[in-house]
Assembly symmetry: C2
Homo-oligomer: 184 residues x 2
């Protein structure tokens, strides 16, 4: 749990900032969805907020030895209106992480041989791919005036893997067993 390279440390801090802000806005947008009469989309937001907590926690832990105050530059999506629009913001944020941010951070961690950061970025990237799909499905439902037709959402507390209706026997990203998943 120690980072030797300044660029990887910067990217971990930036990713921590981005994940912390995503965690927060999904909590807020989850409340909006509930008030709009879309409890399952609310549940999806809360579950994915928890997955972003797992990502933030992992990045923060890799920075355990880099103590002190820093100014963090991180991407965030703003806007707080109707759920269909909030979901578009969520999709845009996830796609930026999937297509731009995490691939570059991951490549840098590999290039600088930062194994802990590499794992933390890899886990987040894999989970974000699922988040983008789930938010897209939820938006398709909301656009046709319906709630998202799901029973439950299950999230791996170690890597943020997110899956509908039932947890797998073993997390496909980090290998954690089924009974560790948190259910929403």
């Amino acid at each position: 749990l120690s980072v030797n390279n300044a660029m990887t440390a910067d990217f971990l801090r930036s990713a921590y900032g981005g994940e912390s802000m995503a965690h927060m806005r999904y909590l807020i947008w989850g409340d909006v969805a509930e008030k709009e009469g879309l409890p399952n989309i609310g549940k999806l937001f809360k579950a994915i907020s928890y997955a972003e907590w797992a990502h933030a926690k992992n990045h923060f832990r890799e920075l355990s030895e880099q103590k002190g105050d820093f100014t963090v530059a991180a991407g965030a999506v703003f806007g707080n209106t109707k759920t269909v629009e909030n979901l578009q913001g969520a999709i845009n944020g996830e796609l930026h992480e999937i297509n731009q941010m995490y691939p570059v951070y991951l490549e840098t961690a590999r290039f600088q041989k930062e194994r802990g950061a590499e794992k933390s970025f890899h886990w987040a990237l894999e989970a974000e791919k699922i988040h983008a799909k789930l938010f897209q499905e939820a938006q398709d439902a909301a656009k046709s005036g319906q709630d998202y037709q799901i029973n439950s959402v299950h999230v791996c507390p170690f890597c943020g893997h997110t899956i509908l209706n039932e947890a797998p026997d073993k997390c496909p990203i980090c290998g954690a067993p089924k009974d560790k998943y948190k259910s929403f």
Copy 2:
């Protein structure tokens, strides 16, 4: 709920980033305190994390109309070790907000006649003053090898007002009634 001035909007985004990261690190440090056998300090971290959620939510709501992707620059404290040291990080972060960040943001909102942002910054500033004191008391206890001697912590979900042992009849910062407080 609409901001007309770019500087106030920038400061709201920065404050949202800072509060989101504070919310997150207090969750993480709360888990550390619990594992260290300091459940009341863990409880304090979780309660104050909830207060930072209230601040982030208020700032985010003021930015409802400023939709889109932004790069946010925001202050954050890093380091993840023993609770005595984590509490020092928490105190440093709160004192920066109390002595530097929120006074300047508040002055700017007044100068630019942004009434919504003024209220959001004012509420956060008043709550942070209490947070710094509580973290200092908790650290004094931890330094002498003890847990913080408290029963419960109560937080106003509107302004983040934080108080030990019992909620007041009326929130001294925002006026919310006692039954709205969230208890930890």
